[in-house]
Symmetry: C2
Subunit: 327 residues, 2 copies
């Protein structure tokens, strides 16, 4: 069994391999931004999940690297387009593609990344290939639905935590579920095991996104790679905000409402005020509890799988890392 | 054998069927724009080509409607994104999606259309399904490359007619080639016939786009549905312009160069001047000859196919209509 850091090296070297290929592809203005986006990096969680899930059953992860990279490519396609839509100027401490190049580039290079992902999936040798591409397609559609809901929530002030969880399930969690399921299928697992892997991935995805929300408000700027308080500044409906609005008393609700409706404001002051309310309401603890709830459920599902415990350990470790991370 | 107008009705009714479905889908802000884009219509050439190609071999076109609609969906996805990139505010006499809704909508609803297209392809029942989806994926990537080249050409003044033909091959023709090939495969044709169909589609696509260029400058505004002279105003590198620049004498080249570099100008005057040069150089005839050249080659390929002449007639008719059209 290949350990996590070796798997990460495999992923990076495969990404480098394709980047080198695309770096030479024409038209350069279409393919260079793809190399840029991939080089900027990221945690590569999704391809790692594909490989770790496969390793529950089989020992030659290099055989299925294409599937892992396809999912990472798809993920990066969504980042290119989301960053335009969200007007996010930075990504992983670097200018986003639409800033570094321009919006047209981010649209079109993003599009081609989605098709490159399909191209890689087609090169997979597996009797489950059709299922994999079908699941991938369904998931891609759900991810778009999630992004739309996220944007819809921007203009609403009555988003509940339940709606929020439903949104991040689509926007973030289903791709993690898909990653584990695809890895399992490639490993030759049964349908019920594949479904459990998917469910575990959903739990991991929900926990992962809530942790992201937490870090955006309560993290360390340098480690996180984005401005702390960005969600507060942009009135982003996060679990922290939906919970706070739900639990606030009359005075707190009024104060939050005032800040949420201000068009011109001092950013530091807004962050300070909203964070203070979050602290009064113990939102940090509530969020941590929710993260732990999803994590435990994910771990339980993994524990229940009919697979030797030592084979599951790297995946368990990943779950733990996802929620203890500070970036 | 179903005739062309019945096939067109089949296509419209299938599109209405899916539109009704998506009209009820959530989130509405994601799916409504898809219905809008499909309702605005268009010539539905690509799905018709799928069905006509299939009918060279088989008689039940309703069996493969999903493949036809998938390609039309993909085509509309490219229109949504291209119209943002090209800042095209009108499409078929109606506001483009990014104008009627907004840019984010055009990006994301566009994305989901591409995945819906894949979803439909997956529902096809055919032993060639994998080949079809693979060809579709490869074609999609080429279409993106074509759009990039088109944008790259905007900032260049030395684009040759050869480069231009290479660009429209990717941007427009490969999808027509793909449509005929997919129809043929679904009809059960041999590989060499499928390849001939693809080649015929390429010729039709090239002729089709050159006709479009011609109409943009020399067409009738009302019939064409777009402003006549739009390509001239925006300095778009079309076959007309690349040929004119190649054939112009010193004086004409200087005059054209002046108009191409003006940032502020009277639109009517620019159109009038450039059209006058086109007329001096007989660019209209040169373009018509090129269109006829591609059309003849396409017709020849179709004639050479080992299929009864009466089965080919509707496809031949389509080729003739594509180049005699005024919209």
């Amino acid at each position: 069994m290949t350990n996590v850091s070796e798997l990460q090296q495999l992923i990076e070297s495969e990404i480098s391999h394709y980047s080198a290929l695309w770096d030479q592809s024409h038209p350069v203005n279409l393919y260079k931004p793809i190399c840029y986006a991939l080089k900027v990096g990221g945690k590569r969680i999704r391809p790692l999940m594909v490989l770790l899930s496969y390793q529950l059953f089989k020992d030659d992860p290099e055989e299925i690297l294409k599937a892992a990279i396809a999912i990472e490519l798809f993920h990066n396609f969504t980042l290119l387009h989301d960053d335009i839509m969200d007007k996010a100027e930075m990504r992983r401490n670097q200018p986003s593609v639409h800033i570094r190049f321009n919006e047209n580039t981010a649209i079109l290079s993003g599009d081609v990344m989605a098709f490159l992902a399909y191209g890689l999936l087609f090169e997979i040798k597996s009797e489950r290939k059709a299922d994999i591409i079908s699941q991938f397609t369904y998931t891609a559609r759900e991810v778009c639905e999630g992004q739309q809901l996220d944007m819809d929530f921007e203009s609403r002030s009555d988003v509940t935590s339940g709606e929020y969880i439903g949104m991040i399930r689509l926007k973030t969690a289903v791709l993690l579920g898909c990653s584990l399921k695809v890895g399992g299928w490639l490993g030759g697992c049964d349908e019920d095991v594949a479904q459990s892997l998917y469910d575990a991935g959903i739990c991991m995805g929900l926990a992962f996104q809530l942790k992201d929300d937490l870090l955006d408000t309560f993290g360390e700027e340098k480690a996180f790679g984005k401005i702390i308080g960005g969600d507060i500044i942009s009135n982003k409906k996060t679990f922290l905000l939906t919970e706070a609005l739900q639990r606030a008393d009359y005075q707190q609700k009024k104060l939050m409402g005032n800040w949420l409706s201000k068009e011109i404001f001092n950013k530091e002051e807004k962050i300070h005020t909203i964070k203070a309310i979050y602290k009064e309401l113990d939102i940090q603890t509530i969020t941590v509890n929710k993260i732990n709830e999803f994590t435990s459920r994910g771990i339980e599902i993994l524990e229940s799988l009919p697979v030797a415990a030592d084979r599951k350990e790297p995946l368990m470790e990943l779950v733990r890392n996802l929620i203890s991370r500070n970036n």
